[in-house]
């Protein structure tokens, strides 16, 4: 168990290293004059050269990367080239927004997928077909299109929620709820579509198992078999898919935060990457990869806890 976690964390560290090296290399490939970009086209050549020297851009790329890495492992991601902000602080103020969005989506997805998937898997027939069609549509429609429709209907037409803006959880709970509901709903559509299909499939699969028939033959009531045995056995594959959705959710968060004007790291990604602000982009990529690795590890541990066979292996 401990060695499993250690191995996975080590693999995650290797992944971080490879991704960071690749990203840095790729980001440094284009021969753009960063100093010129920052100072504007009117600045004198000497000032631009001095700016580039100040940023360390006159050195070879591998040296730049080594320097970045040496600072990064100590938690120092430098300052933004364009705004001069401390990168760690800039991300720290925005991360809670994205995390609260993600946690909200994960909770909503888990609950709704479970309900829909079990309903479809147990009832079959019309209920099943309804959930399947909803699943295909939720999966097929591009996330940002769904988001736009939600904005138009619930914010513009009905005016139930603000179309834009964010109120922190610590400032006001109702305010937070009012600003986070539509973004969470937008992101949950595709996630629920994917995960509920998985829950449905897993439930149908488990219901066909011999041991379910044997449990019935022992005289146990269906509800007890469903909630104790079927759900327990169906939850492992569902969790795996939930984890896989996370990578997609990060991409969705970029668009959703942009549309709703949430000050999270998704919206931040758009602003800073289009400018080519390497210190900020690198830190954002690292945060994303750490998030993916952490979620996958958590899912694997949970699946192991649910499935005794995987636990002893």
């Amino acid at each position: 168990m401990v060695s499993f976690v250690v191995r996975r964390v080590a693999a995650g560290a290797v992944l971080l290293f490879v991704v960071s090296a690749l990203s840095y290399l790729l980001l440094s490939v284009p021969d753009t004059d960063v100093g010129r970009q920052i100072l504007g086209s009117g600045a004198p050549t000497e000032t631009v050269a001095a700016k580039n020297r100040e940023l360390g851009l006159d050195r070879p790329v591998p040296v730049q990367y080594a320097d970045w890495l040496a600072h990064a492992v100590r938690g120092d991601f430098g300052t933004s080239w364009f705004t001069g902000e401390n990168v760690v602080r800039a991300i720290a103020t925005r991360l809670p927004v994205t995390v609260s969005l993600m946690v909200g989506v994960t909770l909503v997805t888990a609950v709704l997928s479970l309900l829909l998937g079990v309903w479809a898997g147990v009832r079959r027939g019309a209920a099943d077909r309804l959930v399947q069609v909803l699943g295909v549509l939720g999966y097929a429609l591009p996330g940002f299109l769904v988001t736009l429709v939600i904005v138009v209907v619930f914010a513009v037409r009905l005016g139930w929620f603000p179309a834009i803006g964010y109120i922190g959880l610590t400032e006001s709970v109702p305010g937070w709820l009012s600003t986070i509901t539509l973004p969470v709903a937008s992101l949950s559509v595709a996630a629920v579509a994917g995960v509920s299909q998985q829950v449905r499939g897993a439930v149908i699969d488990v219901l066909r198992q011999d041991y379910v028939r044997t449990l019935r033959a022992r005289g146990l009531p269906p509800s007890r078999i469903l909630f104790r045995h079927v759900l327990r056995n169906a939850s492992a594959p569902a969790l795996t898919v939930l984890g896989m959705q996370f990578v997609g959710l990060l991409g969705g968060a970029v668009i959703v935060e942009q549309i709703f004007g949430l000050p999270g790291i998704g919206a931040m990604t758009v602003t800073y990457t289009t400018r080519g602000d390497i210190p900020v982009i690198m830190a954002l990529v690292m945060v994303a990869v750490v998030g993916v690795v952490a979620v996958n590890l958590a899912v694997d541990l949970l699946v192991g806890w649910l499935n005794p066979k995987a636990r002893t292996a």
């Binding site: 992944l15 591009p142 299109l145 138009v152 041991y211 009531p221 990578v247 991409g251 996958n296 066979k309």
Partner: protein
Amino acid sequence: MNARRVARRVLRNPLGLVPAVVLALIVLAVLCAPLLSPQGPAVASLRDSFGGPTGGHPLGFDSAGRDVLARLLHGGRNTLGGALLALAVALVVGVPSGLVAGYRGGRFDAAASWTANLVMALPAMVVLLASRAILGPTVWVLMVVLGVLIAPSFFRLVRGTVAGVRNELYVDAARVSGLRDARIVARHVLVVVRAPVIVQTALVAGIAIGLQAGLEFLGIGSGDTPTWGAMLNEAFANIQRAPAMMVWPGLALGLTSASLVLLAAALRDALEGRGADPVRRRRPATASTASTAPAGDGGDRAGLLSVRDLAVSYLLPDGTVREVVRGVDLDVREGEIVGLVGESGSGKTQTAFSILGILPEGGHVSRGSVTVDGREVVGLPERGHRALRGTVVAYVPQEPMSNLDPSFTIGAQLTEPMRYKLGISRAEARRRALDLLRQVEIADPERVLASYPHQISGGMAQRVLIAGAMSCDPRLLVADEPTTALDVMVQAEVLGLLRRLQRERGLGVLLVTHNLGVVADVCDRVAVMHEGRVVETGTAERVLHDPREPYTRTLLDAVLDQVPARPPLKGRTP
């Protein structure tokens, strides 16, 4: 399956036909963009901005006074073209590498799989945004990057499929017969990969279009080129003034993506030969309980279990009804082991399931009467039937391993029914479980109780299942081939155990088996089933030594060793 048949099947399914037609229309319209649009997509006149539909401009104008229809059609070229490029790159990168990795394995496989996992762990949107910063705002280059990012989905699919068939016999045979690898791949492996790749292509195309439009929507494409994403971006910027502007590009995008995914689903169904959903089970026709059919054993109905004229029918997906059991008569008295023999498919197991009320979905008792402990169970509501299970009639399944829930310990599975059915405490249930395990001759009951099913052997698992069946003191045991999955030594032990329990507790046992040796070993009486009917009943000794039916004789002839039958128990009149 050949391509024409698949196509016909897809088009016959409404969920395949509609998306196929919609896609064809969209592609056609987009291809004919210059012919269909009233003016160039970039022609703007501020006078017309936000103008509604007019004669020559059926969809009206956007914020800059450009014709919406023209932008929609030309935008479709860029949007679909971009997605097509991404798809092509993904196919070119993913499929060959998957083929090689799956067919050859080894170091290339390891390296490629690692790379694929790496790429899949990357958040696509972040990478795309970063690449845009690097490579500049050219949509086409970004689409190549997108193609690389989605290539792993093809790689994994192809690699998995190929690795699955690599060791199939026909591939081995081709290799042995001296075919070169390239030929084997072309002749035998590609055929297997083709179908899943086509399905995946439709699916990925939908996703690629969505992602591409999403990028454009964020405004990171090249500004002036019309695309659906860029149109949505523009419409969203004017959402307060003209929210209806989002309708057309939104509709085009939604229809295209949804059609692709629906088409993929229809293709998959067609390729897997799956039709519509199985018909939902209707209420079983009320079976005629008062049966006047001839009494099976030529006498009164037994008190413990009596089956008369039982028929079991299945509703097939195409709506027809198939009778798998047709008129079975059977009796089991207390303290008696009755064998129900027949080849597989003769309806033995279906008969056993009807007694327990656990017929699978689609099956129901269509006729006849089954009394357990004097109570009619045909037509009995589930709740009433459930009350009998465990405490009056219990079940020992065939395959020991698959009949234990892998997620719970043996202890949890043994105690749960006892606590529920008998209402006893956890400690009491545990004490009884230990006692039961000892009775089924398990040497180390404490350890087994704490074990998970995968930690014990098949023979042990079958003992656990027998213990589970005995746990609520039933009087009738229905054992469905309880020894078939076990090896010969364990078989004999389990049969001995059943015999002992039956004698000690005065149980009635219905032993379903195809093994005449088992019948000779333990059964008092035997019923021979053939094609859903009982063709012969009698004492085990009589049936085995002096079969009256030709079918029984055939069954006996199939057994090589003629084993002497067990004499009937004294003082019992069968």
